[in-house]
Amino acid sequence: MKRLITLTVNGTPYEVAIEPRQSLLQLLREELHLTGTKEGCSEGECGACTVLLDGKTVDSCLIFALEAQGREVTTIEGLAHGDQLHPVQKAFAEYGAVQCGFCTPGMILSAKALLDSNPHPTEAEIRQSIAGNLCRCTGYVKIVEAIQAAARG
């Protein structure tokens, strides 16, 4: 019942045998052992499972792994270059935008996707771009400040 799919994750091609019912999130965490992407609600409401699929933010818990055949996925693991953190990651660390860290991978990917297409967002645009990423710890203030700082460069 398993099917073989090929996809690129963080620039690396993979060939994986998976069952049709497995989600992209399961493929990333359980087959590829990329556990940076988190399972929060499994309903596409919290954004903890956010990854980039062909450059666009998506909730990986709602996507069948099979749908990622031939596609490019970017997870949080794909942002840093060795020891060099991505500017958004650095800003999150410097501005105290991380408490428990569970929302953080998804939050950072949403922020990165925003800045990739809109390098100078307003505060409203920042808040809209992370509307699909829930945080129970921070109250969002530091997260917004970190994204503003990353935008300033």
């Binding site: 049709p20 019912r21 499994s42 309903e43 596409g44 909730d59 069948f64 509307a131 699909g132």
Partner: protein
């Protein structure tokens, strides 16, 4: 989730054939934001899933002054929000689609898939109704067109027959400039609409021409407030007339009370939102 056989056909004909072959055991997959959840909760346990996303013809989102706007079955809400022709000629639709879920949801969920789920609260429905949308359906017996009003038949029910799929939703081109307004009440940014209203108005020489007022989440299906429309059609707009039209729109709404809010609130908000939508539409036409 129960396992299933997955197919990703490359033509509409192939997809229809698969649906015919497997009957009620097959479900169609586009964005998956609803289907995946229902399968995960085992509300649906199809043996076969037919993914439409590799059918190139269904991903078309295009506009021409002659044919209007064509939205293919696999076009996402995000693509509709970002499309310049939608923003310019169908502004209420761009605004409505932007309300749906989060960016993550809009990057996957499709306009057509959302319509096929036929929630009475579907966000794009009032805008599509006000722009006179027509649905194209393809099945074993061929192709047919159904106006969106007739496509919705009840909560979760549409005019789709067995082995039929919607291939496009088309919004006709307007003969002249239109003003519009879209309003919605909601508990949180990513929650569904409590109540929504959309007005699209054409006018010339200070008199209202075609007026369309559509309401969401206040009946078993998204509906047109045709009596409210008649209040304004052919008339010179005034504050009093707008107030009257909005009052009539609230009378036409048939909301229920549910976990999100009461029927009384929904009725009140139909009046408030419809008035704001009409004001917005008319000021775009510089008639207010």
């Amino acid at each position: 989730m129960k396992n299933f056989a997955y197919f990703d056909p490359t033509s509409v004909g192939e997809a229809v054939q698969l649906l015919q072959q497997h009957g009620g055991q097959a479900k169609v997959l586009a964005g998956g934001t609803d289907l995946f959840l229902r399968m995960r909760r085992r509300a649906l346990m199809p043996e076969v899933v037919v993914d439409l996303k590799r059918i190139a013809a269904l991903s078309d989102l295009s506009y021409s002054a002659a044919a209007g706007l064509c939205i293919g079955a696999t076009v996402t809400h995000g693509e509709v929000v970002d499309h310049p022709a939608v923003q310019q000629h169908y502004g209420a639709l761009a605004t409505a689609a932007n309300w749906i879920g989060s960016l993550q949801t809009r990057h996957r969920g499709t306009v057509v898939g959302n319509l096929c789920n036929a929630s009475p609260a579907a966000d794009t429905a009032p805008a599509l109704l006000s722009y006179g949308a027509i649905v194209t359906i393809v099945g074993p017996d061929g192709q047919r067109e159904v106006p969106l009003e007739a496509f919705f038949q009840g909560p979760g029910r549409t005019a789709l027959g067995p082995a039929e799929i919607v291939t496009t939703v088309r919004l006709p081109a307007a003969s002249e400039r239109r003003g519009w307004g879209f309003g919605r009440r909601t508990r949180t940014v990513i929650d569904i609409a409590l109540v929504s209203s959309c007005a699209v108005v054409q006018a010339h020489n200070g008199v209202c021409g075609e007026v369309r007022i559509s309401l969401g989440a206040v009946g078993p299906i998204p509906l047109r407030a045709t009596r409210a429309e008649a209040v304004l059609q052919g008339q010179q707009p005034s504050a009093a007339l707008l107030a009257e039209a909005s009052r009539v729109a609230a009378e036409e709404a048939r909301p229920i009370s549910d976990v999100r809010c009461s029927a009384a609130y929904r009725k009140d908000m139909v009046e408030v939102l419809s008035k704001r939508c009409l004001e917005s539409a008319l000021s775009m036409l510089q008639m207010l």
